[in-house]
Symmetry: C2
Amino acid sequence: MNSDPLAAAGTPLPRTPGVAVWEAVRADLLSRIKRGDHAPDEQLPSETALAQNYGVNRLTVRRALNELARVGVLRTMHGVGSFVAPQLMRHRIDDGRISLLESMSGRGHNVTQHILETVEHPGPRRAAGVPELAQVAGFGLSDPSELWTFPDFPGPLIEHRYVLDLDETPWCTSFAVVPKALVPADWDGTESIFSALAKTHGLAVRRDDRRFSAILADTRDAALLHVPAGAALLLLSGTNVDQDGRIVAYIVHHIRGDRAEYALRVPGPSIGPGEEA
Amino acid sequence: MNSDPLAAAGTPLPRTPGVAVWEAVRADLLSRIKRGDHAPDEQLPSETALAQNYGVNRLTVRRALNELARVGVLRTMHGVGSFVAPQLMRHRIDDGRISLLESMSGRGHNVTQHILETVEHPGPRRAAGVPELAQVAGFGLSDPSELWTFPDFPGPLIEHRYVLDLDETPWCTSFAVVPKALVPADWDGTESIFSALAKTHGLAVRRDDRRFSAILADTRDAALLHVPAGAALLLLSGTNVDQDGRIVAYIVHHIRGDRAEYALRVPGPSIGPGEEA
DNA sequence: TAGTGGTCTAGACCACTCA
DNA sequence: GAGTGGTCTAGACCACTAG
């Protein structure tokens, strides 16, 4: 069993009291990966094999693998195997443009956008419909009674749900609500709604506020983003307004926490704490 | 078994093919809680009891409970039981002050700060020492080779690790690195370092940049924040500078995603997308 | 069809809390 | 000591992927 020359991963572990076995297995696997024993995209031994090598039950190995998958170190595929995740570097998204698409383009990245679905609503919409926060719709919002409404553009709304891919890999699911009256008829979904909307109506769209939080990937996000359910996502929501301060869009992004970092420079005048402290 | 009049939670579930049993149990528990069957802080039946009621194995129930705990719907305590988490409303942190402490105070909240440890370093420090991202130190950073260094204040550094409590419950673990030369001798840790530092040296400290991402709580964060390991945390890091643009501090916050939302108004002039699109 | 990961079970033991 | 959650095991079956 352990005389296999290639079975480098997983020799029986010393069981230290106070430390769970799955935790020891996780730490061992992680240190091997960090040390470089396994190349990126390399397939790990099967769960059964790891269990044998470590001398533990398969469920114990699974728990360790699961934790590593959630933090983005591993990637497991049903019926195929577990693989070391490549390039664990976060991409920095620099703020400044109105849409994430524009923010990431022009940095040498190939950013594409895919519309998943487009739904029309007759009128104001409960914000509770935010891409369900780990199936906890209604919870998790700062104000569950918040309405997505457009005082200056009454009438039906359009909801767009789309995915942003960065260099061939999905890294963000998004959700936008805009007044139907503003959506250009010829918009094909390849450019951001906001620049299309700005071109068509001559509006200067800008972000009015941004709100950041963190959530876990639900099964839907997980499937779209190629992460396991329970992975950490950056929740970025905000409101877009035109040059007159009229609300033209509500947006919600779910950004892979293991692949992106949203950077923001603070442009305003310096705020001296001494003034009030 | 199921004739118990009080055993409202958990009658045998219809097994629908294609849906995992633990997933069905999770959905059932969640809907009961959302419906209000269980008051906040109410204790759920024991795992054994739930397993009997649902007619499934205890491990299956545990998986469901675990997922609910990670998203903040439940709170489980070893040897005690599982409880419905109270007030699932997020607190909104409004940006504008240099420190989170000041941001949350003055909003009717009782914010306190507890220093966990203070460590001195002889010189520049590798940023990889960020509160280990789910034990994946070195991974998860936008730039692992990043240095925490202060060109204008050479000499030893002080690292502070502390916890912010909001109305008696912890909601943020923080990490700050400042030049030792700037730390006031009489600073007792009850006010933010930055206002203390500003008072002592007459510096007007302000945030220079902010970087947002999402991570999972490791065991250390979990213990400090009273969340289970694997809960979603908002990772907020940034640099503080004085009025002359000299770097005076690096800070990292791990904020409970189920309890807080970081809001930011965009003050700058409107950015028209039409200009470049 | 063989091999992989995903799920579920029954049963055991341990660690923790509290009366 | 009774009751709770935390861990681990052995074994089974299913679902998926690939040759």
